[in-house]
Symmetry: C2
Subunit: 402 residues, 2 copies
């Protein structure tokens, strides 16, 4: 749809009445530029956390279906409040839940995937000249049950809507100015990146930059959605994310540090065909995302298998690894929360052997032990001691003259 802009505002941006009014003004300003506007919002401030806490006062194991029923109210409050604030500014507006705006998802509660979006209602309301306010993070499954999309859900809602509606662009408003060469809270010299490719931000985001969820970026890349990350508190232009960034120009985009991970090792696994598949398919079946994997042959016919997962999936992952170890007669399962992943990201990483050598040299100079290594087309990552993470990030940022 030509002239259509999808905007997404996170929980901090709609954290109180004043901020909701501020967002209403921004939305109206965009509308008054002659644009059609679809706005995706998250729950206000800590609402979701508060609802989770309330549920856990009643049960330590509430079902995911009922948690989705509970948590989806957070966004529903936000859309009504923002719609009311926009009406107060004299504009036609309508709020829609995930169900009403046709976001059809898989049946998997608390971690649903968007299957497709039926845009009939949105298109109808846009053609009536209305601003549309949509509840992020939620959808509806084939049984008409409310689902939530899990981590990065609202970003994903926004990008999926931008793709389905063929929007001119998708603007993600957040509480930072855009994407930086490193986390500015840790590296004060970090610089804003004005433009970056999908692949590069994907590596930076999934490595802990926390600006934009990788699911959303991946979707944007697949459907070629023009993305912008901007602050909802100022008028700075932020970071543009699109396909046709001049990839030859910049060697290194940024340094990232992910402290929110844990390492699990299954020791002395008998070396049989299909045994790795057995473990990792069990993990995938429980929707646990495994990041780095290393397999060491320690002695004849026995392997050590080591992998990393997000911290909040550690317990589930360890349980599954234990079951696996028992089943295949491995020696034992160990885990370590004291690790971090340090990465250097940029299209020049693999093209230029100097990058890797500089990276390892820096770690050597800092006397940091490398526990695991992985590389891709555009990044090198190492698992290191968490205590040395921040220091290493700062040193690395300098080493690459960023």
């Amino acid at each position: 749809m030509s002239g259509l802009i999808v905007q997404k505002y996170g929980g901090t941006s709609v954290g109180n009445i004043e901020r909701i009014k501020n967002v209403a003004k921004r939305v109206v300003n965009t509308k008054e530029l002659g644009k059609k506007v679809v706005v995706v919002v998250s729950a206000m401030g800590d609402t979701t956390d508060d609802l989770v806490k309330m549920a856990y006062t009643i049960s330590s194991k509430p079902t995911e279906r009922e948690m989705d029923m509970l948590l989806s109210t957070g966004e529903q409050v936000s859309i009504a409040m923002l719609a009311i604030a926009i009406q107060e500014l004299g504009h036609d507006v309508i709020s829609l839940t995930g169900s009403q705006c046709g976001i059809m998802t898989s049946n998997r509660h608390s971690k649903a995937r968007i299957d497709n979006i039926n845009t009939t209602r949105i298109s109808y309301e846009l053609n009536q000249g209305k601003i549309i306010i949509i509840a992020g993070f939620q959808g509806i499954n084939s049984e008409q049950d409310i689902t939530t999309l899990g981590r990065g859900g609202s970003d994903t809602s926004a990008v999926a809507l931008a793709a389905a509606l063929k929007a001119e662009k998708c603007q993600i408003f957040t509480d930072v100015d855009g994407v930086y060469t490193a986390d500015p809270r840790i590296v004060p010299d970090a610089k804003l990146i004005p433009a970056i490719s999908y692949d590069e931000i994907l590596e930076l985001a999934s490595l802990g930059a926390q600006i934009l969820h990788p699911r959303a970026v991946e979707l944007a890349g697949n459907y070629n959605v023009h993305l912008e990350v901007r602050s909802s508190f100022n008028e700075n232009s932020g970071t543009i994310i699109e396909e046709d960034i001049d990839m030859e120009k910049v060697l290194i985009r940024g340094i990232s540090l992910d402290e929110n991970i844990a390492k699990i090792s299954v020791l002395e696994v008998p070396d049989k065909p299909g045994i790795a598949f057995k473990l990792f398919s069990s993990l995938a079946g429980a929707d646990i995302h495994v990041d780095m994997i290393v397999q060491n042959v320690t002695r004849s016919a026995v392997n050590d298998m080591t992998f990393t997962v997000a911290m909040d999936e550690l317990q589930n992952a360890v349980n599954i690894a234990q079951e696996f170890a028992f089943e295949v007669d491995a020696q034992k399962v160990e885990y370590d929360k004291g690790v971090a992943k340090l990465s250097v990201v940029g299209t020049g990483v693999v093209a230029n052997a100097e990058v890797a050598s500089k990276f390892f040299e820096a770690l050597y100079e800092m006397e940091i032990n490398i526990q695991m290594i992985s590389t891709s087309e555009i990044k090198i990552s190492c698992i290191i001691d968490k205590e040395k993470g921040k220091e290493a990030m700062k040193y690395m940022h300098k080493k690459f003259d960023m």
Copy 2:
């Protein structure tokens, strides 16, 4: 459906975590008696009021559609919390929003009427052996928008579901023990009524007894739903409401006082055919319920028209009366908030002339001026000075030896 019980718990009964757990136990007890159970709940405690206040910090005139979007989250939180509490007790349960359980309503936001209930989903889940928890007060209209049912909405949801599902009975759990001969907070001698007919409770309820909303009673009467009003805080048997109460037995059921009304007068209305219709159809068009109407011919060709409305509809009603007065060239519109309606209710009222005479005698003895009078098959009501209302109620309760 045989063996099916519909229970409704109001906002006070689910006002905090402990109370939700208490309700969960009651529901499970009923289920364990071998019954199928459908539970309708209101929003927790002051949730609805808090949401209304929040909306009004942003706008003094939020649209009713967006208010419905906002307020319906209150019940959605309750159903999820209650479902989680019941799961914790080891029972199969599922929560359903008004939309999911097929409550189809008119398009009128904030005051929607239930058109019909598509019970497919509820019947399916009941046949799976599940307890069903349903959000009261809400439904969905033909445009798939969330509507709320207005005053008495949750009671109405419960009775409508009981009718649609052909339930054995519909139990309304509240914070009082049942229906009394007068408001026990005002008349300490008031007695619990163990059984009462639809018509009688209708008169008592609409006259301000506040136990059970008249909409719900009317619906129960139309579909012959066996109703019970009981306390959610004890095991007392409460009040049963059904058709085949022995109507000859009791002369007077109770005395009620409604202080939540106001009186409006349009003075010196030219006496033309259809002129009353004009005023009252305008009021009906704005969904304003007019209660008593009196028309006095003061002098030739000019009438004074006086009527009463609920206090919270006073402003709207006065506006409409003003427009009407201007249009038909009436002299002016006056209103009075200082009035109350005192009524005596019972099947014996009209059958026995002594009742009316006793009623008027009591008012005379108390030197209370009667401003308006209306009578029906089973009640006599007078509009009197609000300041004398409570005193008159107590006196009347004694006068009729209740």
